[in-house]
């Protein structure tokens, strides 16, 4: 190769498709999308300054002490931050206990299938129908649930089992006088307990209807270890009954509640579990502030002057698959009319009084909240094997529902919301259909829209160019144009200019042409010629003048 000339230029690579305007446009688009998305999400994300009732926080109004006790018993604890739909995935419901304390916010209103197979949008019910179904199915499958609620959104769960939270504050004479009338004593027994002055009257105290029946079908498993001696930490699930190295089972429970509401059995409604048992009641002198004005005006009848109610109200109801309520016989769910029954301040009253959960000027009275809650857990999760009495079952697990607790941080609440959506789309029938559709469309979009860069190939392409003017062809086949061309030929052949030619007489033109057919064609003004005649004329004109 002979190089006649050469040029050398050196440059470095640059982005091929960098377009500032396009980048700016895309940035604007995504910014608008982000703002829109944030606006939508902010409707769902409820950031609260007072996060409470969480098993994973250790404030006085959280439930960390309860969770720590469960862990120390060797039971696995988990939180559920998205949706109870995940309960459907529990492998061993029998050895799982679901704890729900305070449903402080509503569910996201998303479309879903209802029981009749129609599409519905859950709204204002705390839990969606699918989530309630998941809880019901969990319990039906042998799971144990504890629902602590007062004025929140747990009513839909209760109603699924034929129970209702009244949502009105209940006052009772059996309150903790060292505190105030909002702190009510709940005695887990058949008959209500009463007061003797400022203290509970010991003569009115009894024991748990079921657990304390030694040898009965509902006997508490810790009672089997009664009077047995154990080393520190060896009593496992019955550690709460250890006194001086010995299990001293006591079936009496005085549970302290705060700002309680009432529980009602819905007449005529039969839930999935047949046995409904009232575990605790108020005294006969309890009142309900129906209109919520902070004053109690009661009479024999409810009138505008006496709008409030009085009498005996349910504080705890247990719904079981069998009358024995034994976990081995099927699932069960316990409703308590106070969402804060297990908060650190009351559950771990000793620690609270010592200032473990922050300084306080209020002294909590001794109560059996811890004993009762841990006994409930022990009954649910203790191993049924003879040589493992007192020990948790192999798969024992307690799940705390944190999905309805507002978070104080945007990230935490967003995470919960996103997790909720994920569970919704993978657990709810309609959403799964929708997700399948989205996945299908996404695959199609990828298939159609996503293109690999075209392989580079040099294309030599000049042969396809061309230019012509087809519009004039019709004009050149008209008789008038043919006559004009012929007369120009005659004029040129005879060396005449236009003026001379136009001045000629017709007979002169005829003699000049000396062809009768063409002469007639030249002189005549008629344009009525057939196609064949026109073709013949053009041939004749072409030949004319050659001789």
């Amino acid at each position: 190769m002979s190089w006649e000339s050469s040029r050398v230029i050196r440059m470095l690579g640059l982005p091929a498709n960098f377009n500032a305007r396009r980048v700016a446009l895309q940035a604007s688009f995504w910014a608008v999308m982000l703002i829109l998305l944030s606006t939508i999400l902010l409707n769902f994300i409820n950031i609260s300054a007072t996060d409470q009732l969480s098993a994973y926080d250790d404030d006085w109004n959280d439930m960390s002490a309860f969770r720590e006790d469960i862990k120390s018993m060797g039971i696995e604890t988990r939180s559920l931050v998205s949706s109870p739909l995940l309960l459907a995935d529990i492998e061993d419901p029998r050895n799982t206990t679901y704890v729900l304390a305070g449903v402080e916010r509503d569910t996201l209103s998303l479309p879903q299938f209802d029981d009749d197979g129609f599409i519905t949008i859950a709204s204002g019910n705390g839990y969606s129908p699918s989530e309630i179904n998941a809880i019901v199915e969990f319990v039906e499958a042998g799971g144990t649930a504890m629902v602590f609620e007062d004025y929140g959104y747990a009513n839909t769960i209760a109603e699924a089992f034929g129970i209702r939270y009244t949502g009105e504050q209940v006052f009772d004479t059996t309150y903790a006088t060292e505190l105030d009338y909002n702190y009510i004593w709940m005695c887990i027994q058949n008959n209500p307990c009463g007061m003797n002055g400022t203290q509970l009257d010991p003569s009115t105290l009894s024991s748990h209807e079921r657990w304390a029946q030694v040898g009965g079908p509902g006997e508490h498993p810790c009672s089997k270890l009664d009077e047995q001696t154990f080393g520190p930490g060896e009593a496992m699930l019955c550690e709460q009954h250890m006194i001086n190295g010995r299990v001293d089972y006591n079936g009496t429970y005085q549970v302290l509640l705060n700002n309680i509401t009432g529980l009602e059995i819905i007449p005529g409604v039969r839930g999935p579990l047949s046995e409904v048992a009232i575990r605790a009641l108020t005294s006969n002198e309890a009142t309900v502030d129906v209109n919520g004005d902070g004053e109690i005006w009661v009479g024999n009848e409810i009138t505008p002057e006496t709008p409030d109610r009085w009498g005996q109200f349910n504080l705890s109801i247990e719904v079981c698959a069998r009358a024995s309520c034994s976990p081995s016989d099927g699932g069960r769910i316990m409703f308590v009319s106070d969402g804060s029954a297990l908060i650190n301040a009351m559950y771990d009253y000793e620690g609270f009084n010592e200032g473990k959960y922050g300084p306080t000027d209020k002294m909590m009275p001794a109560n059996d909240n811890r004993k009762w809650a841990l006994d409930f857990i022990a009954e649910a999760l203790m191993s049924e094997l003879i040589d493992e009495v007192g020990e948790p079952a192999e798969n024992a697990m307690v799940i705390f529902d944190e999905s309805r607790h507002p978070q104080s941080a945007l990230a935490a609440d967003s995470y919960n919301t996103v997790y909720f959506l994920l569970v919704y789309f993978t657990g709810e029938g309609l959403a799964m259909l929708l997700l399948f559709l989205i996945l299908f469309i996404t695959f199609e979009a990828v298939l159609i829209k996503k293109r690999d860069p075209e392989p580079w190939r040099h294309v030599f392409s000049i042969i396809y160019y061309g230019f012509g003017d087809a519009n004039r062809y019709a004009y050149y086949s008209k008789v008038e144009k043919i006559r004009q061309v012929f007369l120009s030929k005659v004029r040129n052949q005879n060396g005449l200019n236009r003026e001379e030619f136009q001045a000629m007489q017709a007979n002169e033109l005829v003699s000049m042409i000396s062809d009768p057919v063409l002469s007639k064609f030249a002189v005549e003004s008629s344009n009525k010629y057939t196609l064949e005649q026109t073709v013949a004329l053009v041939k004749r004109i072409k030949a004319w003048g050659r001789q």
Binding site: M1, S2, W3, E4, S5, S6, R7, V8, I9, R10, M11, L12, G13, L14, P15, A16, N17, D89, L422, F425, T426, G427, M432, L435, L439, T442, F443, V446, K450, D452, P453, W456, H458, V459, F460, S461, I462, I463, Y465, G466, F467, G468, D469, Y473, A474, Y476, S477, K481, V485, F486, S488, K489, N492, G495, T534, V535, V538, K539, I541, K542
Partner: protein, 417 residues
């Protein structure tokens, strides 16, 4: 940018995770997460296009139909391997790749170089630019692609082709009269004696030197000096109508070839050649001799594009005063769509110029790209015939140049009208 494979892998991963969650299948979720993780990890391992490029051309100026040799030297100047790097030298689509390839897939180590060689054929005159060099960096599994370019261009000019033409039909009959005319000491048609040479068959008998024949016994002929330098004026029609036909065969292309060939011929004879190109405006190159004028004319012809509707008479009115008296004038035009052509020719002839109209037959060029009805074609041809007859009647020599006719062959029919 992700490739289709990457998009599929990622979407598949997401789908597997979600479906795995739906049906509580951990294996499926793990597989989905593996696919997503594979994409994420792979996106960290990308190639680069940090290379230097040098392009070397065999010539900056070529004639139409010539071959251009191109060499591209690519050097990795970074301290990383390029991985899969596609190199593509962008060449004008009017150029044909004759041998070699203008692209290559490389994986250059740091400091390593590679050469890409290819040969281009240039079938169309014009001003062209080779470049930029496109780069496409791919990562190992071809999951990500990044495109870049090296903004390096090489400009080249493709001149019209030069054809051999017959001298006999182009000689000026009028000697140059203005100051500066020189007698060329070269053999040719003239009056002054130049030399004696041996007779070759075809030499006219009147040139035989009988005295020399008597003295030597061999037939000898007298050779004369060329006694004039001709000023040749080329007027090229570059109106929009001149593009009728195909890109390779149209009145303008043939016109540029004929103008370049005539200019080359006369400049080689040391005559002066002027060039006027008219389209939407008039471009005029005054008469001059030598290689510089030759290059100017070829460059001007290389850049001609069909446009505008300027009439020929406007050109002759503007330039005829500057034409040397009696100089030959070549009008290269299809003479179509311009009613001023006869008047313009008549005017030039009247001024004593020997006018030759080289007229590419636009009707026949149009036939190459368009199906003209037979009768319309015949009438169009008749009209064209009339037009050329009128020009011949005005005193011009008219050449009806058909598309399949060689230039020298066309020039042979100069006295046909």
């Amino acid at each position: 940018m992700w490739t289709r494979k990457a998009a599929f892998t990622f979407t598949g991963g997401i789908a597997l995770v979600l479906i795995g969650m739906m049906i509580s299948n951990q294996q499926m979720m793990i597989l989905g997460l593996t696919l997503i993780a594979f994409i994420v990890v792979n996106s960290w391992i990308s190639g680069h296009g940090d290379v230097e490029v040098q392009r070397t051309l065999s010539a900056d100026n070529l004639y139409k139909g010539d071959d251009l040799y191109v060499e591209l030297l690519v050097t990795n100047r970074s301290n990383r391997k390029t991985q899969m790097l596609d190199i593509y030298d962008n060449i004008p689509h009017e150029m044909k790749l004759r041998s070699g390839l203008n692209q290559m897939q490389l994986n250059l180590k740091p400091g390593e170089s590679a050469r890409i060689r290819y040969v281009l054929r240039c079938p169309l005159r014009g001003h062209y630019s080779i470049g930029p060099v496109s780069l496409r960096a791919r990562n190992t599994f071809n999951l990500g692609v990044e495109e870049m370019y090296v903004d390096h261009h090489s400009d080249i000019v493709i001149f019209p082709q030069i054809k051999d033409i017959e001298e006999a039909f182009l000689r000026s009959r009028t000697p140059k009269m203005y100051t500066g005319a020189t007698t060329l000491r070269t053999p040719g048609q003239g009056s002054e004696f130049y030399s004696l040479r041996e007779y070759v068959p075809g030499d006219p008998f009147k040139n035989i030197n009988w005295k020399a024949f008597a003295r030597t016994g061999d037939l000898m002929v007298n050779e004369k000096c060329r006694d004039a330098v001709t000023d040749l004026y080329l007027i090229l029609d570059s109106r929009d109508l001149a593009r009728i036909g195909t890109v390779l065969k149209n009145p303008l292309e043939m016109g540029t070839v004929s103008a370049a060939s005539l200019a080359a011929f006369f400049l080689k004879r040391r005559d002066s050649v002027a060039l006027a190109i008219y389209d939407e405006k008039l471009a005029y190159l005054p008469p001059d001799t030598g290689d510089k004028q030759y290059f100017k004319i070829l460059s001007a012809l290389a850049g001609v594009r069909p446009k505008g509707t300027m009439p020929l008479q406007a050109v002759t009115n503007s330039l005829s005063g500057r034409f040397s008296r009696g100089s030959p004038v070549f009008i290269i035009s299809s003479c179509e769509g311009d009613g001023t052509v006869p008047a313009a020719v008549r005017d030039l002839v009247g001024r004593g110029h020997e006018v030759t109209v080289l007229s590419p037959s636009s009707v026949d060029f149009e036939r190459l790209v368009s199906r003209i009805p037979r009768m319309s074609y015949e009438v169009l041809k008749l009209e064209r015939q009339n037009r050329l007859t009128t020009l011949a009647g005005s005193g011009a020599q008219v050449i009806d140049w058909m598309p399949d006719m060689d230039l020298s062959q066309a020039l042979m029919q100069v006295r046909g009208y």
